[in-house]
Symmetry: C2
Subunit: 676 residues, 2 copies
């Protein structure tokens, strides 16, 4: 029997297999089979990205007779790598390991380019790594008078020959730094190539002398109030730092419309706001870089989402047209451009990507929600709602997807509520009202204690109890309804003043006092009306999209954004913010817009995907839909008249209602409903 | 016989023909046949670019029976256009003229997109118009709440539907100005699209409200001493203004190598020089714009050529590596980038194109010469020489093309010559020496009179006679040779002092005095040596390339650049600057580098062409070629020992030589050759 000159190699988990001549490096075999093994140094035992293990237990399964010397012995080069950077027991560098006999090779997750980044429990799907920017370590031919050619041409040739990376463009900053880098790195440099720059081409965006393996990207959600950034490693996908910063545009106007007004009143005012937000972005980038202990020049990408007004202001576009009908965006298309054109001080070659906007009131943040929640991939009907000053509503499934924006106003954010405030320490966020005594117990942000627990006063001494935040308002109105303080029409029942001194006359209406003291925290009739208007707007928007799809209920509801993350979905249902849906299928999506930005940062295909999905989303403008008004009026009631199918008994255990006769101040009789 | 419902239309000069339904607009018929008729407004009778005439005399030739009413009558719309902008007699707007019967239509040259721009007599070929930037007038759908979409998307749709222009990118500045332009233009705008931006895509680079039909481009030759710009209309190709400016880098060093030295001695000095040249470029652009009466924002393109050091400094690249072996360019590839990245204050969307460099000493200016002289298209062997501090030499034909640079030094520019000076008023540029009396007669720049003509002194009173410029030096040395003042080895014959007092002792050598007075203008032995060295270097470079091609002579010689334009080719031949070639095939190419820039400006295909040609040019580095030294030494003689075939009798009528015995200062005997 002649000796075989080749051997079988099987890779797991892919199952890819093939025969190769004895002595073939495992990395070479993997590449020729299309097995996903990472490498930055191109087989030079520098980067350590190509680690593998021998799949010991797998031999029999693949019909291989175990061989002792199936691979070349641990080499000097691997020993040196182990000494310098550490190699876990059993691990080999596939570039340094040669095939000697049939073998099963296991590629661990961290050695794969397209590995999965596990998302948090609240999130829908894991992210597959496929970043636009990748690193390539190359050895460049030295300049030679006998074969005159420019340094850039030899760099391009090295990228083509050593990595099959071709058809590059290159910015002038790189060219200007090239010769110094080649000199310093002794003709060895690491190149960062972004394969999704403006126009769809590939660009050599950064170079470093010698070997460099740390590149990062920023995913940013530009909110009207806060700007939140996550810094992610572009190789592992790990978020290495996160930070938030107040949007400095607040000094030009608290909410979106007041900022648009500022521009209308102060021509050129958009330039001030653009400069302010870009400066804040640079501050934020510096913060997360410091947090993670990296250089700003290691940041090669930034992906941004934001509502249309923030989107326009960040990009330097006058948002005036968004302030009135027909609410036309200057552009809704995704933007790909050098980050320096946005005055961002990252790596000079860093590229920015801004997700597409869906419509005049449904911005790139909503596109981020779509990317995160992926209704376009779902067989179930998904309703995703992101509540801010406007509620952005996405409804649909694989088959058809609709979006609209509904003018909820800022009540859900605590504005226009007499004791409302932003979610900050001291704000009431949870509340329960005893249906018999009408006594409340509550919790404030910054303490885990309920107000009737010992130590509460001490715990909140530093901040005090200063107001009620958005999620607290939802709970207090819902609890007031459950306690009979307000009726289905939202009227504060003055008769309840006889039951508890917490219900007090306030002009011609009544008020419920949550907390006596300084400040006095109470819910007025106007507060209830403001929440009714907001929730009616939200519900009407949802209902309008359901009409378009001919739906009476949805399969799954995802509540995105700060408000959506903090409210108790049970109360959202009691108030009738959202349509009928099994409670276990209603959940918070966290900062889905920001997650969408992170997905687009780590996976360039997701950019193509969201651009395509946004194109086919049907955009509904609530302002021109006659049925919107009708739904709005009908949705004012609590929970709401058009949703008799919201069976509260599914949601909370309600005590039986009994009627109480009382006499009100004017001497008339009032009927009271009391539970208990 | 049934009446025909269609008619034959024949276009001249293309000869394209087809049948179309009666009533078809002539422009529509032209388009469907692929006849080259321009239009910016898309058939709206605004731009007047689509004018045609009826080819009256052509009917019979094309077999058409003359018909009286072959076209619709002159319409109200044409009348209005005629009133507003004027329509020459017999001209029609093809967009407003309908086909009624068989007809021959003549498309005048100025209505063709791809018309020819006639070049000057000195130039090789006409330029076919095919600019990268074109204008498209569009009517954009208004924003509509019932069909929400962004303004940019509707602009893209209009470009696709009205002009079949698709797959555009767009910079942020355009997006930011879009809504205001649409408002001002009442949903009608003119778009400029550059179809050759970085990465090879198409970009919407500028917009104007309403109709706009004036766009321009700059072709610039960045020389070490002067920067010359031509402003060309991007539609007609006409040069509408030209200007030159001193290169302000002169304050950092007179010649290239002293500027490179400045950078070596002053780290970061390249940044100063980059800023200086870019500022000068902006000044120059403003000058030509004012000259032409246009706005800087009407300039949409700039194409640049320059030698490698100028190229690097303009692009912001440290030129240090060009100062020593191996003379590696940072990049030799063509550069396409937004002009704003070069700090140029043209239209914000203006694009820059820099021609490729050929090698470390053969720059983008030499590539411009190639584009202008087109040896790559020639069956004949063409030698193109551009003389500056280095001589850039291109040799070859369709089959094979070589390039090298030869270190002539600055002698040909008047530097290193005792009485040398730049070509400026007061400089001697023409000279004749009487072979009998040795008396010179000359002309200076700024006057048409010879020095022995009446009125000469008055004519030069303002400037004086200040020195000898480069072309003057060639003539004086050649005339000194013809008059026997110097011999074949370049030695100034002291014996001639006996013939004329103009030959004077000067230390241990002799000098020929051209003009007594203040300043004294004379040619020293050192001056002769400097020219010998320069011409030997030039000739050796040429000879080296001829060796590579196995040639003993060339078919055609083109002398480019300021020096090449001003020297009398006859004297170049006498001195042996250039190899043997029929005198009538030696000519000046003018500023061929600048012409190359203009070709690349007006024809985007020329950019692809020069990039491809440069790739295949064989780059020869004279410094590593052993034969270069040998050729150099042999070429020191006048004309030169390796070129005995230069038959001077073909060039000038030479009197017979007679020998004269004289005695020199040291009492020894010298033989003298005298003609006459």
């Amino acid at each position: 029997m002649t000796e075989r000159t080749d051997a079988l190699i099987v890779f797991t988990p892919s199952g890819k297999r093939g025969r190769f001549p004895l002595g073939t490096p495992v990395l070479t075999a993997a590449r020729s089979l299309g097995v996903d093994i990472d490498s930055v140094c191109g087989g030079r035992a520098i980067c350590g990205r190509c680690q593998i293990t021998v799949g010991e237990g797998e031999f029999a399964k693949h019909g291989i007779t175990s061989a002792v010397d199936h691979l070349s012995a641990f080499s000097k080069v691997e020993e040196r790598y182990d000494k310098l950077r550490g190699l876990a027991s059993g691990r080999r560098l596939s570039c340094q390991t040669q095939l000697l006999a049939d073998v099963v090779i296991d590629v661990p997750a961290e050695s794969q380019v397209h590995r999965q980044v596990i998302r948090k429990a609240a999130e829908v799907r894991d992210i597959e790594m496929d970043p636009a920017t990748r690193l390539y370590y190359i050895e460049v031919e030295q300049a030679d008078m006998h074969k005159p050619s420019s340094d850039l041409e030899r760099v391009y040739r090295a990228l083509a020959e050593q990595w099959a990376v071709r058809d590059l463009t290159c910015n002038l900053a790189i060219i200007a730094s090239l010769q110094a880098a080649l000199k310093k790195g002794e003709w060895k440099i690491t190149c960062a190539v972004n394969s999704r720059v403006a126009g769809g081409g590939k660009e050599l965006v950064a170079i470093w002398p010698g070997f460099h393996d740390r590149i990062f990207g920023l995913a940013v959600d530009v909110g009207s109030t806060t700007v939140a950034a996550h810094l992610a490693n572009l190789t592992s996908g790990d978020v290495v730092a996160s930070a938030g910063i107040m949007n400095p545009q607040i000094r030009f106007g608290e909410d979106l419309m007041s900022r648009v007004s500022y521009v209308m009143m102060n021509p050129g005012g958009e330039k001030e706001m653009t400069a302010a937000i870009r400066e804040a972005m640079n501050t934020l980038a510096a913060q997360v870089a410091t947090q993670a202990g990296i250089e700003l020049s290691d940041i090669l990408e930034i992906v941004l989402v934001g509502n249309p007004v923030m989107h326009h202001l960040f990009l330097g576009i006058d948002p005036t047209e968004l302030g009135g009908a027909p609410f036309a965006l200057a552009t809704g298309l995704a933007i790909t451009c050098p980050a320096r054109e946005l005055d961002l001080k990252l790596n000079p070659g860093a590229q920015a990507y801004v997700l597409p906007c869906i419509a005049g009131h449904v911005g790139a943040d909503a596109a981020g929600v779509v990317l995160s929640e992926a209704p376009q991939d779902s067989d179930e009907i998904i309703l995703a709602v992101d509540v801010g000053t406007n509620a952005e509503i996405i409804l649909g499934s694989k088959a058809r997807l609709l979006a609209c924006s509904s003018p909820t106003g800022p009540a859900f954010e605590g504005a226009q509520i007499s004791c409302g405030q932003r979610a900050a320490p001291g704000a009431i966020e949870r509340i329960r009202i005893d249906p018999v005594t009408l006594e409340p117990r509550f919790r404030v942000i910054g303490s885990e204690l309920w107000s009737d627990e010992p130590g509460f006063d001490a715990a909140v001494a530093a901040t005090g109890v200063t107001g009620i935040c958005g999620s607290g308002i939802i709970e207090v109105i819902a609890e007031m309804y459950l306690a009979g303080i307000i009726n289905q029409d939202g009227l504060v029942d003055g008769g309840m003043a006889a039951v508890s001194p917490r219900v007090r006359a306030h002009g011609r209406t009544f008020t419920y006092v949550v907390r006596d003291g300084e400040p006095l925290i109470s819910i007025t009739q106007n507060d209830v009306r403001a929440i009714q208007l907001a929730k009616a707007a939200l519900y009407a928007g949802v209902r309008l999209l359901m009409d378009k799809l001919g739906l009476e209920q949805v399969d799954r509801i995802r509540l995105a954004g700060a408000f959506g993350s903090h409210i108790d979905v049970k109360y959202a249902m009691i108030l009738g913010l959202i349509p009928d849906c099994a409670l276990e299928h209603v959940s918070s999506a966290g900062n889905a817009a920001g997650t969408g930005a992170r997905i687009a940062l780590l996976n360039k295909g997701a950019r193509d995907e969201i651009e395509a999905v946004v194109r086919r989303i049907e955009k509904i403008e609530t302002a021109v839909e006659p049925k919107f008004q009708q739904h709005f009026v009908e949705a004012m009631a609590i929970p709401h008249k058009t949703a008799p199918y919201v069976n509260l008994s599914k949601v909370v255990t309600l005590p039986p209602i009994k009627e109480i006769q009382t006499t009100d101040d004017s001497g008339g009789e009032r009927r009271k409903r009391r539970r208990g």
